[in-house]
Amino acid sequence: MDIGKIWNYISKPEVVPRLFAAFLCLILAIEFFVPTTYYKDQLYPKDIPQSQIFKSSLAPYDRGGVPLIKPADIKTQYPQFEPIRGKITAYLTPLSQWLSEKTPYFGTTIVSTPGGILDEILYYTRGMDTILESLTLLISFMIFSWIYLNRERVE
């Protein structure tokens, strides 16, 4: 076995993804046997799945609070940095308020119009994540469209 040949082999670009996949596979296989524990006192806790059905028209995203009056009580990492904590979670647009009075089946739709717990996390408490997320999409779309539109270009 010639070690020099192996070294040369793994420096080809087309081999690298496969090599990396095998390496990661190995690491995960080791990790597989490491016991993982679950810390009970999580941030932004959620109710037990399916426990809110038919009890609240905002199910499964009812986190308490009254729109524009009483903010919801959510558990965040740094409450001292968030002056309007819980207000976005409690907020409902007039349209969604009307919808919530009519039907118990549209909880997800009602909550995801501006307001609701996810909008609070995504726009406010962890807004930086969403900036990067949309930036990723923007950049990949730029690459995509540049290649698509400039395909016929000759040097």
Binding site: T36, F81, T136, I143
Partner: protein, 222 residues
């Protein structure tokens, strides 16, 4: 906030809170931040060089140059990459950092994808595959850390010990894939053969700074 950070990255100067995601300044991260931004400026000002290339099986050199359209998109990608690198030095959140890495990875791909050369495109594609695979360890490890400790903030994680060795290993492997350090360097190194030095240089700078910063995070989180 925490004394542990002081003994790794130097004096702790302060922080900017954006809700749960806190950007913090230490001696180390400030130097990295300034260097990355300064470099972005240099890259913006520099004209791409005209590259002479050897010909195999032929005499004479071939002159490669970067056309104006190509220059515009590549410069934009390089600037995005530089700014993201600069802020990745500051961020104090594991998941946010992983997202920064993802953005940098895609921007790196973008810097070379406009070059119409088979070898370079091929390398960009393989690098892209690695970047896609390494979202599993990066995001997966941060989710595992969240489940085990109940927090993602580096400042909180640095305060007391959590026994996170294996999660940290997965996270580091994700970084290895995303920055393309050896022994998985080949795909990324082939991308450097493309003409257009200042933009290519940005790829290299970002990956080197990211490696050092990841080492800092890995030492902080314990």
């Amino acid at each position: 906030m925490s004394l542990n950070i002081d003994s790794i990255a130097g004096v702790f100067y302060g922080y900017i809170p954006f809700g749960d995601i806190v950007f913090y300044f230490t001696e180390f991260s400030l130097i990295g931040f300034i260097i990355a931004l300064f470099f972005t400026l240099v890259v913006y000002l520099t004209k791409p060089e005209k590259q002479l290339e050897f010909q195999i099986g032929d005499f004479g050199d071939k002159l490669n140059y970067v056309s104006l359209e190509e220059l515009k998109i590549r410069r934009l990608m390089a600037i995005v990459c530089g700014i993201c690198t600069a802020f990745a030095m500051l961020t104090g959140d594991l998941f946010d950092y992983a997202l920064f890495l993802a953005v940098i990875g895609i921007a790196n791909m973008g810097i070379v994808s406009a070059v119409k050369k088979e070898g370079v495109l091929s390398a960009a594609f393989y690098y892209g595959i690695i970047a896609m695979i390494s979202t599993l360890p990066l995001f997966g490890a941060s989710a595992l850390i969240l489940a085990k400790t109940g927090t993602l903030s580096i400042l909180e994680l640095a305060k007391n010990s959590h026994d996170l060795l294996f999660q940290k290993i997965i996270y580091a492997v994700g970084m290895v894939g995303e920055t393309g350090i050896a022994p998985f360097y080949a795909a990324k190194a082939e991308m450097f053969r493309a003409p257009g030095a200042p933009y290519i240089l940005m790829i290299h700078l970002s990956s080197l700074l990211i490696i050092v910063r990841t080492v800092e995070i890995m030492l902080n989180v314990h």
